[in-house]
Subunit: 126 residues, 2 copies
């Protein structure tokens, strides 16, 4: 399941618009909230925004950190951090299963203060 | 479907922790990204965060604006704006259907610059 999420970030890193297109859902509704932007809806508008981002020579690389998948039947969401230039973001990627394949239906990314340190050997989770 | 979303904001407005508890999913995974925070996962941690927020006397009221629902089978996400004091946020609320009832599985809210004006009479959508 995290492979579909990795494909999304691989498309970004490689500026591969064909891969980016194939990542997004075909039959499910599609939407996207870039950091600070109003939501984009409709597949065409979402893909156009990614085309502009990937074509922008000033776009810094984006690193996906600590992706965690939460799966419930044919629906899954991945939470991860995104390091973009000097900025740190936190993202939700919502995937739906279409004909046996996980496709991205919605992405929201927004600023986060920091990535919390993982619990150390003496830490208590509960 | 938007009724479940309205219940979430009604629980917030009324500081009604019992309603807030009933809004969130029981069997699906639960997560929440408050603005600027790292993701909270596990139902208990998410509900505890809402308890602290609702119990905080300095918490300004929150207004949900322009909710739009995107439904795909037993999965739906609502995109809306949130006006909190002087801040404007944009949110994703992910709902999954549990025993015939829409329950909230994930919420992410983050800053947005402005709410775009709706298209005027002479505006073109395409």
């Amino acid at each position: 399941m995290l492979r579909a999420n990795a494909d999304f970030y691989r498309a970004f890193a490689a500026r591969d618009m064909a891969l980016m297109d194939s990542v997004w859902a075909e039959s499910a509704p599609v939407a996207c909230i870039h950091p600070g932007w109003a939501p984009l809806t409709e597949r065409t508008a979402v893909l156009e925004s990614w085309q502009r981002i990937l074509a922008n020579p000033d776009q810094p690389p984006l690193e996906c950190l600590q992706p965690r998948a939460f799966v419930h039947g044919e629906t899954a969401f991945v939470l991860c951090y995104e390091k973009v230039g000097g900025d740190l973001l936190v993202a939700t990627n919502l995937f739906l299963r279409e004909r046996g394949r996980w496709r991205l239906a919605h992405h929201q990314s927004g600023p986060v203060a920091e990535i919390p340190a993982p619990p150390g050997p003496g830490a208590r989770l509960h």
